[in-house]
């Protein structure tokens, strides 16, 4: 049982900077949990505070059933994998992997046996005598993982685990990491600035900004119901179209057109409310002929994404982007309409930038 619970956790640095600003949330036992956000949002500081490398200024933290707020890192039974892996260059792979067990005073024979065991499970057999300098990036990462596994922790903490790998390797490592966590079933918290990575790996994720949590939810929740315009623009490989509009009856006047009110916001708006209308490029359908509730514009730029194309549509003074199949690519200069299903569009309040309609998923989220 190793859930992580924090209550009004604060980390303030000298000078008054609050890197972690009053966070309360629970990470469930066995969850693969992502801390996602732009650089400087406090995600690494939060991770280090869970590890004990930073001591919390206020609030409390518990791992499993124990309150660890005042415990030094060595007594929290967590394992941390750093961005640069921190493999000790003067020890070979076996010595590196068995190091935590050495501290735990396991006998020499036992800890090397365990190291062999774990190493095998991570495809490292045959490399046990090598020094870290003689290993490839992917191998180094697996050694760091092996060391973490061998230490028998209740929680895994990963700081940007994949960012030191080159792009191709990163995708392989992603799948590998997810499978490993599922097999081991150990609560894992990882930090990343790459939203695609977070969405792919996490069971649940927290989007952070300036030391606060903006939203906690499953990848699907965060993708389909982002709590604010910031989250909406941060999540998703192509940025969501966010355009100012006004509520008129049961439609929204935006980009010179009248589009139907998004399903999720029906009943939660008032007439004349200033809003921000959001639609993902993936959910906009292109039509050369007029459609009801569509937005009309002229194609300006097309960007080839491989099997699909990102098209920019000039609409009056602004533009809207949508994605089509490679076979349906319209030529620049073509006039046409884009339309989206009301179930797939969103409305945000223009002033508060908050999502209109969908309720917050987790009662422990502190308001942004």
């Amino acid at each position: 049982m190793a859930a992580i619970t924090m209550n009004e956790l604060v980390k303030e640095f000298p000078g008054g900077v609050r890197a972690v600003d009053g966070l309360s949330m629970t990470i469930e036992d066995g969850e693969f949990f992502a801390l996602l956000g732009p650089s400087g949002c406090g995600k690494t500081t939060l991770l280090r505070t869970i590890a004990g490398l930073e001591s919390a200024s206020e609030g409390r933290l518990s791992i499993g059933e124990r309150d660890v707020t005042d415990l030094p890192p060595g007594e929290r039974r967590v394992a941390m994998v750093f961005q640069d892996y921190a493999l000790f260059p003067h020890m070979n792979v076996a010595e590196n992997i068995s190091y935590p067990l050495k501290i735990q005073k396991v006998t020499r024979r036992d800890r090397y046996a365990k190291a062999e065991d774990v190493g095998e499970g991570l495809a490292l057999d045959g490399l046990m005598d090598r020094r870290p300098g003689q290993l490839s990036g992917g191998q180094q990462q697996r050694v760091a993982l092996a060391r973490a596994v061998a230490s028998n922790p209740t929680v895994f903490l990963f700081d940007e685990p994949l960012s030191n790998l080159d792009a191709r390797l990163r995708l392989e490592a992603r799948t590998f990491l997810k499978r490993l966590q599922r097999e081991l079933g150990i609560t894992t918290v990882f930090v990343t600035h790459d939203q695609a990575e977070a969405l792919a790996l996490a069971d649940r994720l927290a989007v952070m900004r300036d030391g606060k949590i903006l939203q906690i939810g499953s990848p699907r929740d965060v993708f389909t119901s982002p709590a604010s315009t910031f989250v909406a623009s941060f999540i998703g490989s192509t940025p969501m179209n966010l355009r100012p509009g006004v509520v008129r009856g049961d439609a929204v006047s935006v980009a010179g057109a009248s589009v139907p009110l998004p399903t999720s916001s029906v009943g939660s708006v008032r007439e004349g409310q200033d809003v921000v209308w959001g639609a993902r490029p993936e959910y906009l359908r292109w039509s050369p002929e007029q459609v009801d509730g569509g937005i009309k514009g002229t194609v300006t730029v097309t960007e080839n994404l491989g099997a699909s194309v990102l098209v920019s549509l000039e609409v009056g003074e602004t533009f809207v982007q949508f994605i089509v199949d490679e076979d349906d690519e319209p030529a620049p200069g073509t006039e046409g309409w884009v339309v989206a299903k009301p179930e797939r569009t969103l409305l945000f309040d223009a002033e508060s930038e908050q999502l209109i309609g969908a309720a917050a998923k987790d009662p422990a989220v502190s308001p942004a």
């Binding site: 590890a51 004990g52 490398l53 030094p72 890192p73 060595g74 007594e75 929290r76 967590v78 394992a79 941390m80 750093f82 961005q83 640069d84 921190a86 000790f88 260059p89 003067h90 190091y99 935590p100 501290i103 735990q104 060391r147 230490s151």
Partner: protein
Amino acid sequence: MTTTIEQASTHPRAESMAFARAALGRIGRYVFLGFVIVFFALPVLWLVTAPFDRAPALRLSFPSFTLRNFETLLDNPYALRSLGNSLIISLGTMALVLILAALASYALSRVRIPGRDTLLYMLLLLSSIVTGTAAMVPTFVLITELRLIDTHLAVVLVMAGGLLPAAIFILKDFMDNTPKSYEESARVYGASPLQILRHVVVPIARPGLATIAVWSVVQVWGNFLVPFILLRSPENFPAAVIMFTFYTEGGQPNLALISAFSLLFSIPVVLLYLFVSRRYGFRFYGGIKS
């Protein structure tokens, strides 16, 4: 040589003038280097020829080869002993500087102690202006009052005190450039601070520590002034001081002894320099004389 620019004329005279200028430049360079080589090599040539000469003279001459001169070292009661003394105070100072500087520089690098940066710069400034020469009088009086005159301990302590600021500065810079993730990793896995130092910090800091160790030895090995003013008995003199007595003690200097002794005395530092420059390259840290 054709050009399309009018100024770089195809006039034969201008061409040959440019050629002559280049040639003169070249000759000038070689002549200068020649002088440099002669200036710096001449005194040193004696050092490598005279010890092996059967009849060593002050004048540089081709040696009639013998190793007999090195026997004189055994005849003189102080010669070999002084080399031992040099070793003692060099290694003693090295050990003291290494341990104290390593501890201090690690703490200063990793822990936010108030006034840390000012302290470092003050110390560095201090050690630059309070040189062995400028402090010879108060140092002498201090050691006399401490009743440590004529002891190796005094020399070690004084030299260590002078070398520590620079050593700490260099090592701290080295530690600053070493990532903290190694120590943090060990800490998360439960290692105590002492274990972290032993298992992680010291092994990783080895290049920096080796540099400081060699640097300390080199500084002390050839140092004349400090042992000269603090030591009295010839038995305690290190090689630098005893050698001075070989040639100033009236009468004819024993050339066989002096030449052999000079060579032996010089070899360790030359070897150390070669070792360091091969491994780490000759580096200067903020102009500190290494």
